[in-house]
Structure formats: C-alpha cells, structure tokens
C-alpha cells in the first residue's frame, strides 16, 4: 500500500527538532528564499548595520535574485553623497513608479471615449474614495517627474558625465526625456476638458505643419485618427499614454540603467585624472555597500517622498478640471503645458514650419548627438567654459521662450475682453466665482465707484475690474466705465453681467462689451477643481 504513503519533510524536521525549532527553521528558509540569500539573522544585521559575515551573505541577492541583479553591490564613496548626482536619476525612477501605481488605479475608473471620459473624471472626484487624491498625486507626480528628468539631464551635462564612454547612456536618457514629456502631454487629453482639448489641438497643429505637406497631414491623421481630435484621437492618445509610451519608457530605462551600472556612476570631474575613467575601479577602502547603506537610505527616501506627495496632493495641490471639452468654444488663452511653453513661444517668432517643427527637431537632434559633438577629453569645469556657457545660455533661452509662450507676451486680445476675463476667466474659476456668494449683492455697481460698494468682496472685485480698465484709459479710450450688474435669477442663482462702455479715443465712436455669468450659492469653486 505504499502508493498512499505521503512523505512530508517538515514532519521529519518536527521529529528531529521539535515543533518550535522546526517552525523557526522553516521561517528562516522562507525568508532566505524570498531575499535570495539572506537569513532572518542576516536581514536583522543589515537593518542594525552590523558588519557582514564572511563570506558576505549580502552579495548573494545581487547575484541570485532578480530584483537586485542589476544593482551594484557597492558604490564609490565619491558618488555616494548628494553631490554629484543629487539623486535626480533615482528621483525620476521613483516618480515613474508612482505614476504607474496611481495610473493603474485611475485606469480602473476611466473609459477613453468622449461620451463618458469627462463624466468618468467627475465620478473619480465625487464617487471614488481617494479618487481625487489618486488623480492629484498622478498629476503632481507627472509634473515633478518632468522637473526631475530635466534637472537630471542638466546635471549630467554640467558634470560632463555623458562623455566617453557614456555617450550611449546619454542617448537613451534623451529618449527617456522625450518619453517623459510625451507621457505627460498625452495624459493631458484624457480628462476631455477644455484645457486638454485645446492644449492638444495646439500640439496636433504642429504635427500637421511638418514638411512636406503629405507627411504632416499623414502624421496628423495617424495621431488624431481624423481631421479633428475626436473619439479616435482620444483612444489613440490613451493607448499611447498607457501602453506604447510606458513600454518604450521601461525598455529605454532598462538599457539606460544597465549602461549606468556597466560603466559605473561617473565620479566627480575633479576626482579623476583628465581622460581617465576610473568609475569601475573602486578601491576596497572607498566602497559604500548597497546593503545596508544604500538600501536603507532608498527605503527612507521612498517613505519621505511618499509622505510629501500625499500631504501636498491632499492639501495644497489639486489637478485642475475645466469645463467639458467643446470644439465650438475656444477659450480666451490656450496655453501648452508649462514644459512646452518654450515651443509655444517659438511659434510666436514666425513661421510655424520653421519654428514649430524644424528648429525643435534640430534641437532634439543636437541634444541626442551632444556627446559626439563636445568631444574634449576633460570633464573639469574649468576646461569646459564654452560648453557650460552654452548650456547656461540655453537654459536662459528656454526660460525666455517659455515666458514668450505665456499669454502675457504678444497675444492681441482687446483690453475690455481682457479686463472682463480677469474677473470671469474661462479656464479657471477666477476671483468672482471664488467670492462668497452672499457678498455679491443684488444691484448695479460702477467699477470706478468701487469704494462705495456695500460688501468687501464687491469692493475687491470692482477695484480689480477698475484697475484693469485703467489700461484702456491709458491707451487713450475716453469715458471708460465698467459695470457689474447682479440680478436674482432663480432660487440660489445670481445672474452677473460684466459690462464695459467707452468712447473710442480716435474715432469718437461709442463701444460696448459685456459678458454674462451665472453664480450658484452651492457651486463651491473654492474647493479646488
């Protein structure tokens, strides 16, 4: 009957050592398997920062386990401090992980269709516990990731770390920068609000400008799935955002990090002899071991940054959600996301094809080829004055171009429209809608007589309005006056008419502009969205 005999090895252990000892041994065994080589006592020793035994068991997870197989077992002491890396590469990776986690949670509640996408947003905000927090962290993380990646690249340039033999690492990094920017940008469209529709429309018109015409048209058709952005375009942006770009990003990240480890973290420029790359030859006495030092520090960073992200997203930062996308209604000022403002600024310089397509392509190409262009062997700051100056000038140029991309530069909107838009903006709630409802009293008020308005909120609004109208007065218009008329429209609903009348300074023609808004007692624009 031996066919029915079951042999349980654990029972043999129990027979040999007793239940307690056998369970402890079993637990030790499980931990050793999970950590790929560290027993419970080893893990404890790592956390306590005890000296490792011989042979060092802390090297095993690197050689036997998957998760640490690419991580070095030790770093050079000189790259272990805040300088020269500033942890920016690590930070970029951290944000990428945060984006993946929050992104997957958001995907659960999202359908990429213009019919329901915006409603999905409202549902996430109103009906999903922690839905708003997830959305806010996702948005905040995206913006911070763009900053971290850009600074990481700048730092790599400044310390000359992209020089031979790390040219290819730099190239993969440029790809990662592109992936980051386009991940962020493709996510812009998904809420299907006015902000997303018009930001993406600007972007898409640039694709269409790519020469020759047949290429631009075809590219634009491929991205938008039609002559205008619609259901097909939304689906394509969604798939780019959740599948294609993360896929490219993960692969490029794998190659990038593999190359970083393969060549070793480049040492501070002043620590090496000119033309010598000594990153992979780390003397025994200058090693910072991954376990315990780097590992505990990274765990520490993860918990601190997560705390910061959660607190900031919960109390200080709320991702904007504008009104439902409407191709019929062009908002007064459509701006690209801030990290593409420089591009919008360049578009104001002249021809769309030259400044919107050709110049950015050349810039991207130069960035990619930079390590093959700046080939001087020295990484010392003093020997790279030209390169560093060009970098500084480029940063300044980007800042100036970004300013030029904002509506404050070179946008010709008539001042009366601008003045009303300050009180009643189309893209965010603005001062009137965030004022206390009760303080917007019924009546007709003149902007210039703001001081005699009955409530503080009205005084403040009218004063702002009048201040904006000063620009018209300065421009030579006569008898400029602003009115604000508040009417009782429905239970809890006020109708507010902002009206500007003037007499043209040159022709003597009277002019009039007015805009109507409705304001409900419970609309609560101050809550964030």
């Amino acid at each position: 009957m031996s066919i029915f005999r079951v042999h349980i090895p654990f029972l043999d252990e129990v027979k040999a050592h007793g239940v307690r000892k056998a369970l402890l041994l079993k637990a030790d065994d499980v931990v050793t398997r999970i950590t790929a080589g560290l027993s419970i006592a080893d893990v404890r020793a790592v956390l306590r920062d005890d000296p490792p035994g011989r042979p060092n068991p802390r090297l095993k997870p690197h050689s036997e386990g998957f998760w640490l197989h690419m991580r070095p077992t030790y770093y050079h002491n000189l790259v272990d401090g805040l300088y020269p890396t500033f942890r920016l590469g690590w930070l970029s990776t951290y944000f990428f992980a945060v984006e993946i986690i929050t992104g997957i949670i958001l995907m659960v509640y999202y359908t990429p269709s213009p019919l329901v996408a915006y409603e999905n947003m409202l549902n996430i905000l109103s009906n999903v516990p922690f839905g708003r927090l997830m959305r806010d962290i996702h948005r905040l993380g995206a913006e911070l990731m763009v900053i971290a990646v850009a600074l990481h690249m700048l730092r790599t340039f400044i310390t000359g770390s992209y020089k031979k033999p790390r040219q290819f690492t730099w190239a993969t990094g440029v790809i990662l920068l592109g992936v980051t920017l386009f991940l962020s940008f493709s996510g812009y469209l998904l809420p299907w609000d006015q902000l997303s529709l018009w930001a993406v429309t600007i972007g898409a018109s640039m694709i269409e400008a790519a020469p020759p015409e047949v290429v631009g048209k075809t590219l634009s058709l491929m991205v938008l799935g039609g002559p205008q952005i619609g259901a097909n375009g939304l689906l394509r942006f969604y798939l780019l955002h959740v599948v294609a770009l993360p896929f490219v990003g993960l692969i490029a990240f794998g190659v990038h990090y593999y190359k970083v480890i393969h060549h070793g973290h480049s040492l501070p420029p002043e620590a090496e002899e000119i033309g010598v790359d000594s990153a992979t030859r780390v003397p025994m006495n200058q090693r910072s071991y991954f376990m315990p030092k780097i590992l505990t520090r990274e765990l520490f960073y993860v918990s601190v940054f997560t705390l910061l992200l959660v607190v900031v997203a919960a109390y200080f930062f709320h991702a904007p959600l504008e009104p439902h996308a409407d191709p019929q209604v062009t908002p007064l000022h459509t701006t690209a996301p801030w990290y593409f403002l420089w591009l919008q600024g360049m578009l104001k310089l002249g021809d769309k094809v030259i400044w919107g397509v050709i110049v950015p392509t050349i810039m991207g190409g130069l960035l990619l080829l930079l390590p093959y262009l700046e080939v001087g062997p020295s990484r010392r700051y003093a020997h790279r004055r030209v390169g560093l100056t060009i970098a500084a000038l480029s940063v300044v140029a980007l800042a100036v171009l970004s300013f030029m991309g904002t509506p404050w530069y070179g946008v010709t909107v008539t001042p009366e429209v601008e003045a009303v838009a300050v009180i009643l903006p189309q893209t965010h709630p603005g001062p009137l809608r965030t004022s206390p409802w009760e303080e917007i009293e019924y009546g007709s008020f003149e902007a210039s007589a703001w001081a005699s308005a009955p409530t503080p909120a009205l005084r403040e609004l009218l004063r702002t309005f009048d201040h904006e109208l000063d620009r018209m007065r300065a421009a030579g218009q006569r008898e400029v006056e602003g009115f604000m008329i508040v009417e009782d429209w429905q239970p809890g609903l006020k109708k507010i008419t902002m009206r500007v009348v003037w007499v043209d300074g040159e022709t003597g023609e009277p002019g009039e502009f007015s805009q109507v808004a409705y304001f409900h007692r419970d609309s609560n624009y101050a809550q964030g969205e």
Partner: protein, 279 residues
C-alpha cells in the same frame, strides 16, 4: 544610517495617519463635490437656456404667447401638464426627452405654430448629453418659485384701467426697476429687445444711438407714417400701435399689437423709464 530607519518608519506611520484622516473625511468631501457640481450644472444650464431657449420660452421661462409654453410655471411642476400630455415618467426624464428629441408633432391641447426643434446630438441637434442634463437641472431649479407663485394670491389685481391706444396720454412717474421686472416677466419685452435683436435693441451700441435720439430721428424721417409729435410719443406709439410705422429692415407684424390691452398707464410709464435707462 539608523536615523534613516527611524525617520523612514516615522514617515511611513505619518503617511498612514494622513491617509486615515483623509479616509474619515472622504465621504463628506465627495458629498461636497457632488453638491458643488450640481450647482455648477445649474449655472451651465442657465447660460445654455439664455442662448438657446429664451428667445421662445422667455428670458425667465414664463413662455411667450403663441410661440412656446411656460417652463417656469406651476402646472409643469405639480404634475398637471404631465397628466395632460400623458407622461407617466419623472419630470426630469420628460424634460430631457423633449429637449433632446424636440417635438415633431404638437402635444395634445396645444396649437403652437412652431415645432420644438431637436437639441440632442443623438437626434441631430447641437447639444451634448451633459448640456441637456444641465438645462434640465436649470429648469428644475424653478420648481420652488413656480409653485410658491401659484399659491400666493396675485400681487396686483387687474383693477387699474388699461392704457388703450392713445399715444398722447399723460403718464405718471415711471419706476425703471418695476419696468425691468415687467419687461423680463409678464410682458416679455426683453426677449426680443434686450437679449436678442429680433426687435430694435434698447441699448445703444456701435452706430446705434440711444433710444431717445433714435426716436427723434425716426419721426423726422421722410417715410415716417405715424402720428407721434415727439420722441416719447413715438416710443409709446411703437409699443401700443407697433404697425403704425415699421422701421426699414424689420419685418412688420412681429411685435404683438395687444400691449394696449395688457398694460396700465403705470406699467407703460415704468417700461418707458426702464427703456430710457439704457445707455
């Protein structure tokens, strides 16, 4: 390194505490959001109503005789109208259906010459489903006042004498505030003269001078066919006997000829005062 572990653990615990605190407040936050969003839907509906509906249903939804029925009316909210048309669903669904699909055939008991057009995109109209929801929310927001007005006794019994068609009548002092209420409410002038330019706009704009100046110009015109002797009489004539003189560019017969039977001398004075208050 040990302080890394201590602080890291502390941060983890703090994160959990913040999340727990947020979890406690989450239901209230979600409720606040829903309330705020419902209110914003009404705002959106108000603006859609103004641009798409008010020219037929009146600025305040009181309806325009011979054009479209009242929506800001008790019978819509107390179920009488639904009963009349034989609708057994909710009022919201009724409104949504009528706005989205329009009225290809007139409802039982009505004789409006125009059909309600389709508004929903799914039926070939211009509005998205969420915009129709917003319109429904705005119309439903009249419920409280429409029902209260129906219960309250009529504010002014029609005891005063109607003004008739005498354009030389001596008028009492006018109150522009009351004239505004009349124009936007019972008389419905604003629908064509203030919010739209179906009739000559009351406000001055561009090359259009103020009403007073315009009236003076009109009676001096070559083809003037009315009897007014001065600007005020011209305005009174335009209200009481609209076809006495039709300004070139405006079709005759659009302005109702019944205002003389609907206004007292005080009403006329108030509306005039309101008209002349436009700059």
């Amino acid at each position: 390194m040990k302080w890394h572990i201590v602080l890291g653990t502390l941060a983890l615990v703090l994160t959990m505490a913040v999340l727990a605190f947020l979890a406690l407040n989450e239901p209230a936050r979600m409720d606040t959001f829903i309330q705020g969003y419902e209110a914003r839907r009404i705002e959106q509906g108000a603006s859609l109503f103004q641009s798409n509906c008010s020219s037929c249903h009146g600025v305040q939804g009181k309806g325009i005789e011979g054009v479209a029925p009242a929506l800001n009316a008790a019978d819509l909210f107390n179920g009488q109208r639904l009963e009349r048309v034989g609708w057994t669903g909710t009022l919201e669904d009724y409104l949504e259906g009528v706005i989205a699909a329009g009225r290809p055939v007139p409802s039982a008991g009505t004789t409006y010459p125009q059909r309600m057009p389709t508004w929903g995109q799914e039926f070939g109209g211009p509005l998205r489903p969420d915009q129709i929801d917003a319109l429904v929310a705005f119309i439903m927001n009249w419920e409280e006042r429409a029902l209260a007005e129906a219960e309250a006794p009529p504010l002014e019994a029609p005891s005063a004498e109607m003004v008739g068609t005498d354009i030389t009548i001596a008028l009492p002092e006018g109150d522009p505030e009351r004239g505004k209420a009349l124009s936007e409410g019972a008389l419905g002038c604003s629908g064509c003269h203030v919010l739209a330019t179906v009739g000559p706009p009351w406000s001055a704009s561009g090359d259009l001078p103020s009403l007073e100046e315009r009236a003076a110009q009109r009676i001096a015109a070559q083809d003037y066919s009315g009897e007014a002797a001065d600007a005020q009489q011209y305005l009174i004539e335009s209200i009481l006997k609209p076809d006495a003189y039709v300004v070139a560019g405006y079709p005759p017969g659009v302005m109702p000829k019944t205002y003389g039977e609907r206004m007292t001398a005080q009403d006329l004075a108030d509306v005039l005062a309101y008209m002349l208050s436009f700059r």
